[in-house]
Each structure stands twice: as structure tokens, then as C-alpha cells.
Amino acid sequence: MTRRHRIESLVLLLGAVTLLWSLFDAGDDLVATVGRQPGILGAFLVVITVGELFRVVMPSGRIAAPVATGAGIALALLGPVYGLAEFDVAAGVVTLVVATALGLALVLRTLLGRPAQWYLVAARTVGIAITATLMRLGDGDGRGVWVWELADRSPWVVALVMMAAAAAGLFADLVLTGLVQSERWELPATTTLRDELGEAQALTFGVLAAGPLVAFLAPVIGLLALPLGLLPMVLTYVAVRRYATNRATYRQTIAALSRLTEAAGYTPAGHASRVAERSVAIARSMGLHADQIQELEYAALLHDLGQVGLRSPIPDGATVLAAPDDQRRIASEGARIVRRTEVLDDVADLMERQTTPFRHVREWGEEVPLASRIIKVANAYDDFSHGRTDVVSVDAALERIHLGLGYEYDPEVVEALIRTNPVPGPR
């Protein structure tokens, strides 16, 4: 086990232990249960497998599969509804069905050439096992919450209990996934956990509520509950996908704007996107929030836009070599153009402040946003290295930046720059 993949390996191990426990829990009844309820278990297996093929990658990097997650939670919540044995499935069987479906989907994804991550299967299996177990706690025969017959209880109390059990499992899944991602992307765990748990809380709530919906429909319309109860999740998937695609095209629009100066020959090709990429890497390693990172990325992409107003281009478009007054003029011209959109005012502020030297912060207490200080360092790094990644260029750029450390550049940002490993070679 390498140090780098320690958490991922632990999550995989936890998934494997959960599976072993499921086999133990299902015990001798496994074959009998599968034989008794082939329709219900088969339907869930198919829906979860197909649902996993329709994933959405959220802007923060979180992977959402609302249909599959909603179906998994629904199966975990099913039980002897109204005393009907046909919906009574042991927690171990639930976990095995979900794990099988997720594994199957992963194999299909691999065959289709799509990214496949086993740690996601492990984390989700653990989460479902928790929900299914919680729903069956508190009663000797494993029927748990369902021994409160719906007829005797307020439906909203039963719905709340189901939501709570579903939430416990889903949050365990999100925490495990967040920890692995922090390890994979070499980011502070607090950052990925905050993004994983904090982003799209309405989406998380919606997915949690899908389970109780299927469970309430099942006794009335049987297996038809599955497609009907998951319809809101299908609509959610469509909406979330549209949102994620739109976010991508919004970014493309900003990127197109940033290319204006390159197409006109003011700045070297790829400069804006390199500065943006480097800025985002630094910001992530410094633990900035996803929203701040997004604004930072836009500001970094557009930081040279003001050059379109210049009568003659500065050599190589390198603002770091321009006189401080010219730097400020370019930044405020760019900010003026961006403010015309009326929706990117915060981005314009970041652009405007990115020319301020760090000594103004240190000596005069001037408030310069961290994002602006990051762009200043990333821009200088790209200007000094001319976008090259060979050792000589990288060393030369870092040396020039060190000359202005604490005076021109924020030392903490420079430290983060070095942490993001600008030295060439495999990462």
C-alpha cells in the first residue's frame, strides 16, 4: 500500500468488509430471497446499473448519478410495508444487490471506455448498507421501522425516519468519496469534504426524498412504483445535466473572450488558459472554496483583456515586464469591459486588484483578495517561463519570482505554486 493511496485502499477494504458482512447477514436466506422476489430485485438491479451509466459530473468534480442513488436508497427503505412480505428484503440482500449493480455498471463503463472508479462502488456500498441496517434496527426480527404500521402512524413521521436513515447512508458515502478525492487530487480534506457535502444540497435532498416516494408507492401499485417513483430523479438528471453542460459553455464563453488578445497578437497563444490552470491549482492547494475558485478562474482567463485597448502591444504581451502604471491601466480597462456584463462584477474586482504588489498588503494593510494575489503569481510565473515547461525555464521563472518574494509576491502563494509542482515530469 503506497502512502499516496492509503485512504483509497482503506475505502476499498471497507467496501470489501461490508460485502462480507452482507453475505453473512443474508446467510442461508439469500438464495431463498432471490428466488422469492426475482422480479423486484431484478428490476432494482437493472435500474441501478442503467442509472449508473447516466452520471453527471458537477462543476466541483462531484459525480452524481441521481437515478441510481435514488433507486439504491429506495431498495434499502423497502420492507414489510403494510405487513406485505413481498417487499421484505434483508439488509444484507439489499447491499449485495446494490453492490452487484454498481459493479456491473463499472464493468460496462470500462467496456464503453468511460472512466470507472472502484472507490465509488465501495463508498456507495457502505452507504447503502448503513441505510438498510438503520431501517431494520430496533426490532428482533429485523423488520425495524416497518413494524410501525403505516396505518397507525402519521405518514410524515415515517417519511422523516426514512429520510434520516437515507441521509446517514448518503452522507457516509459522500464523506468517504470526499476523502479519497482529497488524496487523489492532493488537496486539503476540508476543501473536498466541503465541496462534496456543501454543493448542491437541494440535489442531495431530492435524491434522499426519492426513496420514501418509491416505498410509499410500492404497496399501492407494486413494481410500477419503481419507474413512477424515480420519474422525479430522471427529471432531476436531465436538469442537472443541462446545468452542468451550461456551466461548461459559460466557461467556454469566458475562454473565447480571453482569446481575443491572443488572436489579435497582444498576448502569446495559450497564456490566459495556462495562467488560469495554474491559478486554479494554487487555489485548490490553498483550500479556496469552489465558488471562489470559479471566479478566480474567470478572472485569470480575462486578466489580460484590457490589452485590446492598447495602441501598440507590449513585448510578448508580458504584463509582468510592463511599467506598474501600464499594468494598472490594462487591468482597469479589462475590468471596465468585464463590468459591462453586469454579472461578472466580482470577477472584474479580482482583475483590477491583481496588479497590486504584496508590499501594499504587508506594509499598508491594503486589502487585496487572495484570488488576485494568486493570479499575480501565476501570471508572473507564465510570463517569466514563457509558457515553457523545461527545467531551465521553470527554474529561471521561480528564481525571478523569488527575487520579488514578500515585496511583489505573496510568499504563501509562491509556496503553494511550488507545491503544485511546476517542475516538469510525471505527477
Binding site: 441521481p66 396505518a151 402519521s154 405518514p155 417519511a159 448542491a200 437541494a202 440535489l203 442531495t204 435532498f205 431530492g206 435524491v207 426524498a209 420514501p212 416516494l213 410509499f216 408507492l217 399501492v220 401499485i221 407494486g222 410500477l224 413512477l228 417513483g229 420519474l231 422525479p232 430523479m233 427529471l235 432531476t236 436531465v238 436538469a239 443541462r242 446545468y243 456551466r247 459553455t249 459559460y250 467556454q252 464563453t253 469566458i254 473565447a256 473572450l257 482569446r259 481575443l260 488572436a263 489579435a264 497578437g265 497582444y266 483583456l305 485590446v308 485597448g309 495602441r311 501598440s312 502591444p313 471596465r336 469591459i337 468585464v338 459591462r340 456584463t341 453586469e342 454579472v343 461578472l344
Partner: protein
């Protein structure tokens, strides 16, 4: 020539239409009462109206018209089997009456009449499709699907269509947008999502009546849509932001060529109106607007000191090429390319491109040469043109007339 240019209709068309819609709602209420009687479950009706009003209080619609979250639709459709068509009409009426937005009384009256009429049309369609008003007596998936599920789908479609027709009518009279275009726009954009959300009403009805959950069914049915609503709102906001980001491109153009201040926005606006006058599809109208806005982009994408050195065609093509990578601007980019191939004395290969070219030339005549609108029109007419060119010039004349009329006092605009 559009009817809206008739002074009487321009001045009184909208109030008359609102009056007719109120009478229609009253007529439908009488018919539904005659056929189905008064609702019996007044408690359920009150709860549905209250929950429906709450959904209207949620921020639900984004600005683009594509991302409409329609929880209100679910409540109205669920009301049909639970409290009957008259009850559904009352639910629609109360929901629209209690809407949070501050709007003039005549608009609120129209919204109430429209929501109520659409709900009752949905109720009639539900009955005609074999829908049951005694759902608790139905058992099993097949019976519930045949006598509740499918009829709700039919009611959903009828409700949506009635709503779209009534709204398109008022927009036709108040803003002059052709009925057919407005209908097509509404049904093909937000219509599909509204329809899909409507089906959730079936789920609510099953849980409310046979499931015995009562009003909690509405909450449990709507809760899973929280994620969809969130995503659609985000989508709408970001889509608007994306469109606005194009404003920065215009600002960049005007930074390089200050003499063009306001030109892009005027060309975009005029070309958009002309495209609508010509009956182009909504997507084409949007492409024409964007192409009008960004047609001078190529002038920025040129090294300093080189402005005006190259041919206009290559400048426009350069601008179009910059937009090619943006999927949502592919249509506008294509229009810009077509504009590039239209010389001073030859028309553009498509109607959309000809619209942009004529709007651009017209504004440049006003701006650059300082001539009046009528003289600019005359100059454009003097140029050799094709049948398409004639149609575009006629559309320009109509757009100018509509603009003048809209500026005249006494017109009532409701959208």
C-alpha cells in the same frame, strides 16, 4: 401586415382579450358545475390551493423560458381526480390570485382566469380520456394506470395547450408576436419540461387517495423534485450570465472602435424584430440577434495598427471563426459567415444573413452618414436586390413602423 398595427386593436385589444378570458373561465365553470357538480372535499381543496399558492411563492422560473419549474402544474393536475374539475379550477384561480409578484390588477385578473380555465380544460380532458373521480375504489396497477395515469397525461397535455394558447393570444395583442410563433416557441421550449413534471401528479394522486397519505402526498411527491428545481434555477441564472458575457465581447469591440458605440446593440435589436416579422423560427431569431450583436467582432481580432487594412469579408470571417468553438453560438457563427459572403451589391445566401446585413447597413447609414430613417430606406431600396431582399426590406419597414407605434403614447403592453 400584422393586425396589431390597427389602432383600435393596439389600444383596446389586450383589455378586450382579458375580458374574454374571464368570460371563458366563467363559462367553463358553469359547464363543469353542470357536468360534475360542486366539489365535496372542501378541506382537500383548501389544502391543495394553499400548497399550490406556496409553489407560486417559490422562485421558480428563470429568464430564458426554457427552464420553468412547474410544481404548480403538478398541484393543479392532482386536484382534478381529488376534488373534481370545478375544484381544480378553484385551485388554479386561488394560486394565481395569491402570486407573490407585484403585478397590475388586470394582469392578475388575466392570470387567474387563465390558470382557472386551463385547469378546467384539463379536467374535461381527464374525463373524456376515461379518468375516474372515485380513485379510492380502484385497485391494482392496471386499473390505476388506465383510469388515472393515462387520463392525467391527457389532461396534462390539454392543460398545457390551453395555457399556451391563452398566453400566446395576449402576447400577440400586447407585443405583436405572431400567434403561431409564440405557440411554437412555448410548446417546444418550456412545454416539454412542463409536460414531464405534470406526470408527477399521478404519483401524488396515488399516494393521496388509495395510499391514504392525504396532503402529505403532495409534499412527498414534490420533495424529490428539489434537485431538479435547484438545477433548473442554476441553469437559468448561468444561461443569462452566459448571454450577458457576450456583452463583454461587444464592449471589447467598442473599446477598439469607439465610433461604433451602441451600433452592435441596435443592429441586434433591429435584426431580431425583422427576423420575427419574417416568421423565422425562434432559434433562427436568436441566432440573428447574436450575429447582429457580434458581427463586428473581427475588427477587434486584428493586430493594433492593422485595422482597416484587410477586406471586410476576412474581418467578419475572423469574428465568426472565434465563435465556432462555442456550441451555443454555432448558429450565429454560421449566419456571420454567410454575411461575409454578401458583397455591397449582392445579397446574402440565406434570409437570416440578409436580415443581419440589411440591419447593419441601415444602422451604418443612420450612424455614419447621419441620414434619416426614410432616406436610409430609400438608399437601401436603390440597391439591386432579390426576392428575399425585397422581403427583408419590407420587414425592415414594418419593424420601423412597429417601433414608432410602440413609442407612441396610449399603447398598453402586457407580457
Amino acid at each position: 401586415m400584422p393586425e396589431s398595427s390597427t389602432p383600435f386593436l393596439v389600444r383596446y385589444g389586450t383589455p378586450i382579450y382579458i375580458g374574454v378570458t374571464v368570460v371563458l373561465a366563467g363559462g367553463l365553470a358553469v359547464v363543469c358545475h353542470h357536468l360534475y357538480g360542486w366539489p365535496t372535499a372542501w378541506g382537500a381543496l383548501g389544502l391543495l390551493a394553499f400548497i399550490g399558492a406556496l409553489t407560486w411563492w417559490l422562485p421558480s422560473t428563470s429568464s430564458d423560458g426554457l427552464s420553468h419549474f412547474t410544481a404548480d402544474n403538478v398541484v393543479v393536475l392532482a386536484a382534478i381526480p381529488i376534488v373534481g374539475p370545478v375544484g381544480a379550477g378553484v385551485v388554479g384561480l386561488v394560486m394565481a390570485a395569491l402570486t407573490r409578484r407585484r403585478i397590475p390588477a388586470y394582469r392578475r385578473a388575466f392570470n387567474m382566469a387563465m390558470a382557472s380555465s386551463s385547469a378546467m380544460v384539463g379536467g374535461l380532458a381527464y374525463d373524456m380520456a376515461g379518468g375516474s373521480f372515485a380513485v379510492q375504489e380502484l385497485h391494482g396497477a392496471v386499473a390505476l394506470t388506465l383510469h388515472v395515469g393515462l387520463p392525467i397525461v391527457v389532461a396534462d397535455a390539454a392543460n398545457l395547450l390551453a395555457n399556451a394558447v391563452l398566453v400566446a393570444g395576449v402576447i400577440r395583442l400586447s407585443a405583436g408576436v405572431p400567434l403561431r410563433l409564440q405557440l411554437a416557441d412555448m410548446l417546444t421550449s418550456s412545454g416539454m419540461t412542463q409536460f414531464a413534471y405534470g406526470i408527477v401528479a399521478f404519483v401524488v394522486v396515488i399516494m393521496w387517495l388509495p395510499g391514504g397519505l392525504g396532503w402529505v402526498a403532495v409534499l412527498i411527491g414534490l420533495a424529490p423534485l428539489a434537485g431538479a428545481r435547484w438545477a433548473l434555477l442554476q441553469y437559468g441564472e448561468e444561461r443569462e450570465a452566459r448571454e450577458r458575457a457576450l456583452g463583454a465581447l461587444v464592449a471589447a469591440i467598442e473599446t477598439r472602435a469607439p465610433e461604433l458605440e451602441g451600433h452592435s446593440a441596435r443592429v441586434s435589436s433591429m435584426a431580431g424584430v425583422m427576423a420575427q416579422e419574417l416568421g423565422l423560427r425562434p432559434k433562427e431569431v436568436a441566432d440573428v440577434r447574436t450575429a447582429g450583436l457580434l458581427h463586428d467582432l473581427g475588427t477587434v481580432v486584428v493586430a493594433p495598427g492593422q485595422e482597416g487594412q484587410d477586406h471586410r469579408r476576412s474581418a467578419v470571417l475572423r469574428g465568426a471563426a472565434m465563435l465556432q468553438d462555442l456550441p451555443f453560438l454555432a448558429g450565429a457563427s454560421a449566419v456571420m459567415e454567410q454575411v461575409a459572403y454578401a458583397g455591397p451589391d449582392e445579397h446574402a445566401p440565406t434570409l437570416a444573413a440578409e436580415v443581419v446585413r440589411v440591419a447593419d447597413d441601415f444602422d451604418l447609414l443612420l450612424l455614419g452618414e447621419g441620414v434619416g430613417a426614410s432616406e436610409a430606406m430609400e438608399r437601401l431600396r436603390e440597391r439591386p436586390t432579390s426576392a428575399d431582399g425585397e422581403r427583408v426590406l419590407a420587414a425592415l419597414a414594418r419593424a420601423l413602423r412597429a417601433r414608432d407605434e410602440a413609442a407612441a403614447p396610449g399603447t398598453m403592453v402586457t407580457t
